[in-house]
Symmetry: C2
Subunit: 312 residues, 2 copies
């Protein structure tokens, strides 16, 4: 049995996970990221202790604690090199958490951990696998030969910062035109707001009034209800997503590429146009055998992946 | 000792290569790609026989023949799945060449083979390594954990077909805006021609008249001689190249990325602005430790890499 902790900027989500990646019990506590490193690590340790106690398992049954943390990670030493949203630099997470729990700790980048969770739950017999999450940004994880690919210094797999439009809109990373500027849910919301400004009579505008917010569902819901302006937004958005996927497949030709994040709940409505665009645009159209699909674990991917990555 | 064969659309370049990747003897014969598969393979076998005879080595000293072939390759079976410029589809290269030579044959994609050659000659102790060639297109090879990365079905590592400008100029692959449209030498020549049209008084126009041609050196030579229009061409071209490299480093963070192709002879004049752009634009600016450099083997990379990849 393992404990998986998905450390986010908002919540510390933790779970007791069996050897097959099933969550037996989980809990969540606010991160309150403005606090000190020590206070946050203390809460992570308390989460682990609570899970052990509440599940009524023996401490000795817990083989390891796996943490998925934002930022660039020195996996060998369990150090968070840099996690902007937590304000951490060279934070010795493994050392501190082992001191508090007395259990062996492994630290992985959160997107890598989620990718590994999806990978294992997808069957785990795939050689090369890519997982992308469409969210505030575009996160990603790469599994090569069954192992998490991290890059030389833990700074790899930042697939959201592959350029889509050279010289395009500014990304939060400081480079212009990154894929995540256009293909993330944040990008979709911006595109939806622009379309509402230009089409004040569209259903999207009505939904904004009724719901008091524009979110990743606004354009999708209006498009499904037949609104033309919304259909155009969705079509363009999915082409941005698809073009970035096409680039990744030209580079990796993984056996499987899964799309996750809240928006992936759109299922085939999201996937079919992406698949069509990709198949028409792959470099090796007749040869490429990458299977595109929707991720399965939802928000649990982080906990499960963190736990399972502590196993290897 | 190995024989390495770099099969190109123009020439079949072959070499006798020692275990350390040194070429002991080499020869070249025109491919005449319009000929049948059998005729071309016969010439490859003859090249190997000539090398053995001319070098006065025993057949038994040749451990294997490695071939770098264009196209998508089924490495396990030594089949060229699809090589457009040779007109080959599912061509059983390993089988035919083994039949003719009686020596074990290994077939690798040509860009992968060249990358592997550069990798081994760079020291071979690097874990993750990327090699790109700026030529007619942009070729690339990816070494992960010391092994050539091929993708699920031999269709990976097509880094030239990573999008740089979504919806941009049409690429020969059928997708718009691929990196190689802007960052290849073909792209540079197009950009130089455009600049000459707009600046008929520039040194570039003078060089075109004198040399009777616009090539990859035209803008570089004129820029070095102080021509402002040429400096602008070179600056923009190198930014296209750099942005594509930046994307690859955001995805892979390899330990080393080398740039090859004829234009890489420009050395630091090419590399310094690329390095500067990348360091300012990497996602993990303070963390990323990828070393950018110029490839060393020139045209021999294909022969050496093909030979050495037969070794593994």
């Amino acid at each position: 049995m393992y404990i998986g902790i998905d450390l986010g900027g908002t919540n510390i989500a933790a779970g007791l996970v069996d050897d097959n990646g099933n969550i037996l019990k989980k809990r969540s506590t606010p991160t309150r990221a403005e606090r000190s490193f020590e206070e946050i690590v203390k809460d992570m340790a308390d989460s682990a202790e609570s899970l052990i106690r509440d599940a009524g398992v023996e401490r000795s049954e817990i083989k390891a604690v796996g943490v998925g943390s934002p930022g660039a990670i020195d996996h060998s030493n369990g150090v968070v090199i840099n996690a902007g949203n937590l304000g951490w630099k060279d934070a010795p997470l493994k050392f501190e958490l082992e001191k508090l729990t007395g259990i062996s700790v492994s630290v992985e980048n959160d997107a890598n951990a989620a990718a590994y969770g999806e990978y294992v739950k997808h069957g785990g017999e795939i050689k090369d696998f890519i997982f992308i999450t469409l969210g505030t940004g575009i996160g990603g994880g790469i599994i090569i030969d069954g192992k998490i690919y991290r890059g030389f210094n833990g700074a790899g797999a930042e697939v959201g910062h592959n350029t889509l439009i050279y010289g395009g809109d500014m990304c939060s990373c400081g480079k212009r035109g990154c894929w995540e500027v256009y293909g993330s849910v944040t990008g979709l919301i911006n595109q939806t707001c622009d379309a509402i400004d230009k089409n004040p009579g569209s259903l999207m505008a009505k939904y904004r009034c009724e719901r008091g917010v524009v979110d990743g569902r606004t354009a999708f819901d209006a498009a499904k209800a037949g609104d033309y302006a919304a259909k155009a937004v969705v079509k363009q958005y999915l082409e941005y997503v698809a073009d970035g996927i096409c680039s990744l497949v030209n580079i990796f030709e993984p056996e499987v590429l899964l799309i996750g994040g809240g928006i992936s709940k759109e299922g085939e409505y999201l996937l079919a146009p992406i698949r069509e665009y990709c198949e028409a645009n792959y470099f090796c159209k007749t040869i490429c055998q990458t299977r595109l699909g929707i991720a399965k674990l939802g928000n649990d991917a982080g906990i499960i992946g963190a736990a399972l990555s502590a196993k290897i």
